[in-house]
């Protein structure tokens, strides 16, 4: 494969994420920039959803992408898409930040407020498709019984441990675990078709 410096920027933008990651692994900043451009909005969205504050979300995204840049060699395409890998890193960083109490107030973001301020513009066809997909996923989450939806939200987006959730809800930990499993299994059943189209 040629070096990124041998590619025009438009050529780099034509490359698949997995091919860009080969260049990133060699330390090619231009290739990394294309990866960043493709996934920064999704990354920021996850970080904001979890941290509920712009500055904290920015820190999480910055840390996550620098981690991604520095660990590019660890990306394994057989284990999922670059997008999934990026979002997983962002999620882990946000959880770490929440548990370090970096985001002290653990404010939950109001979706309406966020979209007014940072709503993505100029969407491509791919982004429109992803928006539809995201909408479907949210709808499926909302079809769960409220108690299952709540424990999933608290754990995955709130960064709370099962022990903390059990205490917050005054519910046995076994019940919390069971609700998580039942909720995810129901979502799995409803999202089965999505698996074929997710990147």
């Amino acid at each position: 494969m040629r070096k990124a410096s041998d590619h025009r920027p438009t050529e780099l933008r034509d490359l698949a994420d997995e091919d860009l990651m080969q260049l990133v692994r060699r330390g090619e900043a231009a290739a990394f920039e294309v990866v960043y451009e493709r996934h920064c909005n999704a990354a920021f969205s996850v970080a904001y959803r979890m941290c509920g504050a712009r500055v904290a979300a920015e820190d999480v995204v910055q840390e996550a992408f620098l981690s991604l840049w520095r660990s590019g060699a660890r990306y394994d395409r057989t284990r999922g898409s670059v997008r999934t890998w990026v979002l997983g890193i962002v999620h882990n960083r946000a959880i770490d930040a929440l548990r370090r109490s970096v985001v002290h107030d653990r404010r939950r973001a109001s979706d309406e407020g966020i979209e007014e301020r940072f709503e993505a513009r100029d969407r491509t066809d791919v982004e429109v498709a992803r928006l539809d997909e995201a909408q479907e996923i949210r709808q499926v989450l909302l079809t769960l019984p409220p108690e299952q939806c709540r424990v999933i939200e608290l754990a995955y987006f709130g960064g709370f441990t099962q022990t903390e959730i059990a205490s917050m809800l005054d519910t046995p930990i076994g019940t919390v675990k069971g609700r998580m499993r039942l909720g995810l299994e129901k979502m799995r059943a409803q999202l089965g078709g999505l698996r074929e189209v997710m990147p």
Binding site: Y48, E58, A73, I114, R188
Partner: protein, 247 residues
């Protein structure tokens, strides 16, 4: 390997949602290596947890993040690529180089506070500074070099002024502390004694770095270097580790 219907299968959901406390999460990870039933459940539910991240309402990332991230990435890329120039390295060898650099960055330790404190921002300009070069005058531009005072044992730094601009060269320099990066500042003197920030951020490889000093150096008394957060700073958060008077 556990039999199908492992009693720990319920934990698969907590695992993929990262709801397990640290320590327990790692223990379950070990369990997964031995239990096909739980591993299969984690694979099944992991798809849902990945999908949940894609289901978050989409927003636009503020452009400032990109600027900060790419400034650091470009600086590190230069180091990596410069180290690899001219070498017909195999892929594993390139990874090894990167790994060594990353390993160096991970092993960074803060410089001793006492040593750092010995260099005050406003001090060192007038005295105790090694100077070489000088010259100038005449019609054409005469390249000049200015030795810097470096607050790290065995380290050396020099600012070279040529017709192409200014370049800071360091050797024997320890890496910046973990989670920080070196930043170049321009000290214009005056009463405020507050140096102007530049976007020149750098780390070192094998103690060495060669950094273009951006901006107009006319009226600059000294080039300074401090270690700063990875995003850089608008004003120094620590005393300089390098002070290079341009006089």
């Amino acid at each position: 390997m556990s039999a199908p219907g492992c009693p720990r299968t319920d934990d698969a959901a907590s695992y993929v949602l990262r709801a397990m406390p640290d320590g327990e999460w790692e223990l379950y990870q070990d369990h997964l290596a031995r239990c096909a039933s739980c591993a299969a459940k984690v694979a099944e539910l992991g798809f849902v947890s990945d999908a949940l991240l894609s289901g978050v309402p989409q927003l636009s990332a503020p452009p400032e993040i990109r600027d900060r991230v790419m400034a650091i990435v470009r600086a590190e890329s230069e180091l990596l690529l410069a180290a690899g120039h001219g070498a017909d390295r195999t892929e594993p060898a390139r990874r090894s180089l990167r790994s060594r650099l990353r390993s160096r960055l991970r092993s960074l330790r803060p410089l001793p506070a006492v040593a750092l404190a010995s260099v005050a921002l406003a001090a060192g300009i007038g005295g105790g500074v090694l100077l070489s070069g000088g010259g100038g005058g005449g019609g054409g531009f005469t390249p000049r070099s200015f030795d810097a005072q470096v607050n790290a044992p065995g380290a050396r730094a020099q600012v070279r002024l040529t017709s192409d601009g200014a370049k800071l060269q360091v050797s024997g320099m320890p890496p910046p502390p973990e989670g920080r990066i070196y930043q170049v500042w321009l000290d214009h003197g005056g009463d405020a004694r507050r140096p102007a920030p530049t976007d020149a951020l750098f780390s070192v490889r094998d103690g060495r770095a060669s950094v273009d000093v951006p901006g107009d150096l006319d009226g600059v008394d000294a080039v300074l270097v401090t270690d700063e957060p990875l995003s850089g700073s608008s004003q120094p958060t620590r005393p300089p580790v390098i002070t290079a008077p341009l006089a």
